[in-house]
Amino acid sequence: MSEQQTDLAAWPDDVLETAASWKNDGREVAIATVVHTWGSSPRPVGSQLIVDGAGAMVGSVSGGCIEGAVVKEAMEVIAGAPARVLDFGVSNDQAWEVGLACGGKVQVYVERLD
């Protein structure tokens, strides 16, 4: 068949491909995944953000409101802390709580890529 093939790997926002390539480059990587949402939340379950040891990130787990806190947790996980589940939302009063402007709640699982 006469088909001129494009480079699908050139997708700019393929988070997991990027995670694998960072790891191959010798960078430490943590993966954050939205595992549960309640009410309105900007990114659906399954959305992912990857973070490296220097805090560089690709992808998203919200509209930008909780990424900063997730990056901080991710860097701890990279440094050797265990994988963890983070809860963000209006009713949460833990120290790392960051309010979601939209009023929803979101749960994020943060793990190291070993």
Binding site: S2, Q4, A19, A20, V35, P44, V45, G46, Y109, E111
Partner: protein, 231 residues
């Protein structure tokens, strides 16, 4: 996540197979289960097999509460695809926009002066006859088909293949009158009204689009509606 697990996920995706990754969020245990393995899983864990099948069908990842703790079920369905028949002006912005929205796009047009790399840089092009090209693609429930040529010689064969497939969206450019005569021809080819009602024609949401890029927005909007509001 183990690197081996990530490599396995990327391989499944590259080979366009459906799978789910189960991650126990207490223990970190991981298990990649392909849709093809569901039949054998059915025998040992029917409940889990049904949960996975349902998640794949609805394309929705979710957390399962199990005796061993919360398990995240991450759905990896094959990529969305859009087949555009007719390498016309509207196809240029539509191919770029659909790519941004996550579709693997192929533009089909046997007229080589239309389907040229200069007009469609970076887009997968096929110069086969539409019915042959579409039959080769194996249209599935993750595929949208949009015909843009206005030319029955090119659009009709594509529509006939699309109507016999599971494509989640079929749209065809043309005025109400063009569409009416299109339906007449398809009816003569043996398609019933219910089947032909799957064709969105005139194509696109009615947002008063004028320019090719605006028409592309209206088409991609309608494709998105079909994908996300169907279930």
């Amino acid at each position: 996540m183990k690197s081996e697990t990530l490599e396995a996920v990327l391989k499944v995706r590259a080979e366009k197979r459906a799978a789910v990754l189960l991650t126990n969020m207490l223990s970190g245990d991981e298990r990649l289960i392909e849709a093809a393995d569901l039949a054998s899983l059915q025998a040992t864990d029917a409940d889990l097999a049904e949960q996975i099948a349902s998640a794949l069908r609805s394309d929705k990842s979710r957390t399962l509460e199990t005796d061993d703790g919360p398990v995240f079920l991450n759905v990896f369905n094959p990529a969305l695809r859009m087949i555009i028949v007719g390498a016309v002006h509207i196809a240029q912005p539509l191919a770029r926009m659909a790519d941004l929205a996550g579709y693997a796009v192929t533009v089909v047009d046997p007229r080589r002066s239309f389907a040229s790399v200069e007009r469609f840089p970076g887009v997968s092009l096929s110069s086969e006859w539409p019915d042959d090209a579409l039959a080769d693609f194996g249209l599935d429930a993750r595929t949208a088909v949009v015909t843009l040529t206005h030319d029955p010689k090119l659009d009709d064969p594509a529509l006939e293949v699309a109507l016999k497939s599971d494509a989640f969206y079929i749209g065809s450019l043309g005025s109400n009158r063009t569409h009416a005569s299109r339906l007449e021809r398809l009816s003569e080819s043996g398609f019933d009204d219910q089947t032909m009602a799957r064709i969105h024609g005139p194509v696109g949401l009615n947002i008063g689009a004028k320019s090719p890029a605006e028409i592309a927005v209206s088409i991609l909007g309608q494709v998105t509606e079909a994908l996300r509001k169907a279930s």
